[in-house]
Amino acid sequence: MSPESVGCACATETLQADAVLDRFPEARREHLIPILQAVQDEFGYLSQANMLAIGRRLNLPVSKVYGVATFYNQFRFQPRGRVHCQVCRGTACHVKGSATVLEAIRQALKIDPGQTSRDGQFSLEVVACIGACGLAPVVTMNGEFHASVTPDSVRKLVQQYAKDTQNGNGK
């Protein structure tokens, strides 16, 4: 599959990643993680083309770049969906049943954490704690907090966001 055929902007993104990399003159291998973070900040995820560009710039085998990036939960390897859903799996949320909430969302979206649905509608991320323990269990949709959710309520929430973004008013 060529990048064009999946509507991927890898080629132009590499040019932009170079711009991000230029912010790290004389970067060496110990700068790998800050660079990965900067590139992800810029594009929302780490594309293969960008990881290759990072490897070349740091003179690091791309297997190493990928190995380090996959070690940390913070890095994504697929672009975010139009709706980015974060599920808190911190201690308080766990006690209040976030495991079943996550399972309900996984089934509703048919994707695993770290993935993006094929139509680009939803992406799912598990976070350790988002500092809203009083609202547990909590999920966020595009940064908007939803408190005391249940498997039923998140299913409805997902449907609501699906409808909203289809109507063009995704938040």
Partner: protein, 573 residues
């Protein structure tokens, strides 16, 4: 200095790790992750011992010796810890030893036996199911068998300078994989198989061609011929219980005939032929101002490494095909004509010490008319498996000689099996080409031995030639770096992918240490010392081949059959 181990004093050298001292004193402490000559990682913890004054067990591989230290290597606590570690490793290791290619030759299995593991105490649920990666022509990776010791990762990066694989993910999801978890075939893997040589389990193994070869041998419509590489006859016997360094050349030929091969050829013959072509090419480059230093081209891992990592040196590569491919081309041309055979009916098998040869045989530029010149490559290990399957012990058959017209060799061709051998053989013939006389001392001592990089200066006709020999691609890469930076005193560089050369190739019997490799090397040099014909240009069969078919080295026919060109290669790296 002296340290006390198990109430006995042993010798230790300041600065060394405890494990090194223990090994020297033949105190057997097991390890799964330790690699000679590489920095210890202390990952597997099997080498833990009790050191007086230390609260915890210490990993002896990463613990420096200290004056007056007292060590207990097999205290109940140390042994108990080791047993638990093995039991935990087994907790998510598949229980399919009977069906495993490494059955009876597996470090994990023998440790479980030695430590008396008799029941499954822990059962882990694998959070991931892994599929074997069979995409490579040379190597199969099966992460479900992997115990994450990391030896393959370190060999690939530190010894070969390739780093095709690394640890991916974290915690229970950790596995060894390529960049982006793609197949090995699109990675920067150069197929050398050194990862297989260090793998304690069957997480890494060769892509087997046993079935294809047995099928061909059963097929009455196929004319099945075989060639065996110089380094195979000095290692095969180890698979049948002989000490490293036993040469079974003639027995190997006889045993291959018993398997049903119609002709048994010796790749050392085409190694002599390679020398004729390569030495002539070197002389031509020297005389006509061609691209120097010339780099040898018989090691297929090295070729792919140059294509991927140093494409600016592709023009420096000798255009000579490897001995395997030269012989493959001749079998399906000269030999087929001579015997009146349809080349399409010939099934050409090569026994190689090498996994990269499997990839090489499938390279499109090395076949003709859409057919590969070599149809299947078996490693030394696979051949041993076939012999066992067919009840043949190749150490106990009456030796026979290889078949005409590709059965005659000189000791120079045989030397291809060790690092420095191609250089030595080429210098002997190049000297003769340039001066019409033989080298006074045929033995070129500075290029012998197991060092990673060896250099020599040879005077031919008053001209000094600078030559270098590297084995292990990290060494070769450093040497290329020097040349790129302007070093100009080298005219000819031999590179073998595997440290030590083909005698330590990725297809050789497992479990060989440096001493075993040294013994294999000695066997090759013994042959060179004992036999009368020691220069490739005195190989009568090679001379006849030029008279009858090829005309002369670098002729039009030679170029068509024995030479090729390589190109820069794009991979994920």
């Amino acid at each position: 200095m002296q340290i006390e181990v198990n109430n006995r004093m042993i010798e230790a050298r300041p600065g060394e790790m405890l494990l090194t001292a223990l090994r020297r004193a033949h105190v057997n402490v097991p390890t799964l992750c330790n690699l000679e000559h590489l920095t210890p990682t202390g990952a597997c913890r099997l080498c833990v011992v009790e050191v007086e004054g230390q609260r915890n067990l210490v990993p002896s591989c990463a613990f420096p010796v200290q004056e007056g230290m007292k060590v207990r290597t097999h205290s109940p606590r140390a042994v108990g810890a080791r047993k638990t570690i093995v039991e935990l490793l087994l907790a998510n290791h598949p229980d399919d030893c009977l069906y495993c290619v490494r059955n009876n030759n597996c470090t994990l299995q023998s440790l479980a036996a030695e430590l008396g593991v008799r029941e499954r105490r822990f059962r882990a649920e694998r959070s991931n199911t892994y599929h074997a990666d069979t995409s490579s022509a040379s190597i199969v990776r099966d992460p479900s068998k992997c115990i994450l010791c990391g030896k393959c990762v370190r060999v690939c990066e530190e010894v070969q300078g390739v780093a095709a694989i690394d640890f991916i993910h974290r915690g229970s999801r950790t596995h060894v994989g390529t960049a982006f978890d793609q197949g090995l075939n699109v990675s920067s893997c150069i197929n050398c198989g050194q990862c297989i040589m260090v793998c304690p389990t069957s997480a890494l193994r060769e892509q087997s061609a046993i079935k294809e070869v047995l099928d061909a041998l059963r097929n009455p419509d196929r004319f099945v011929v075989v060639q065996h590489a110089p380094a195979v006859s000095v290692t095969l016997a180890e698979e049948f219980g002989l000490r490293p360094g036993a040469d079974v050349d003639g027995c190997l030929t006889a045993a291959l005939r018993r398997l049903g091969f119609r002709r048994v050829f010796d790749t050392s013959f085409s190694a002599d032929l390679t020398i004729m072509e390569e030495a002539s090419e070197l002389v031509r480059r020297l005389r006509t101002g061609g691209r120097l230093p010339m780099l040898t081209s018989c090691s297929p891992g090295w070729i792919k490494y140059v294509e991927e990592f140093h494409p600016d040196f592709v023009p420096n590569l000798s255009t000579c095909k490897s001995p395997q491919q030269m012989l493959g081309a001749l079998i399906k041309s000269f030999f087929a004509q001579r015997e009146g055979l349809d080349p399409a009916k010939i099934y050409s098998v090569a026994i190689m010490p090498c996994t990269a040869k499997k990839f090489e045989a499938g390279r499109p530029e090395l076949g003709r008319d859409g057919r590969p010149d070599v149809d299947a490559v078996l490693t030394t290990r696979e051949l041993a498996r076939i012999f066992r399957l067919r009840g043949i012990d190749p150490t106990r058959v009456v030796p026979e000689s290889a078949d005409h017209p590709f059965g005659e060799r000189t000791t120079a061709g045989k030397l291809f099996g060790a690092t420095g051998g191609v250089m030595e053989a080429a210098l002997r013939t190049a000297h003769h080409l340039l001066t019409g006389r033989e080298l006074e001392e045929l033995k070129v001592k500075p290029v012998r031995g197991l060092e990673g990089v060896k250099e020599a200066r040879v005077r031919i006709n008053g001209v000094e030639l600078g030559v270098a020999v590297a084995s292990g691609l990290a060494n070769a890469g450093r040497l290329l770096g020097e040349v790129r930076a302007g070093r100009a005193d080298l005219q000819f560089i031999e590179v073998m992918t595997c440290p030590g050369g083909c005698i330590a190739g990725g297809g050789q019997p497992l479990g060989a240490d440096r001493d075993a490799v040294r013994a294999r090397m000695r066997a090759l040099y013994q042959i060179d010392r004992d036999e009368p014909v020691r220069v490739s240009h005195r190989n009568e069969a090679v001379r006849r081949l030029y008279d009858e078919f090829l005309d002369e080295p670098l002729s039009e026919a030679s170029h068509r059959l024995l030479h090729t060109h390589y190109h820069a290669r794009e991979v994920i790296r």
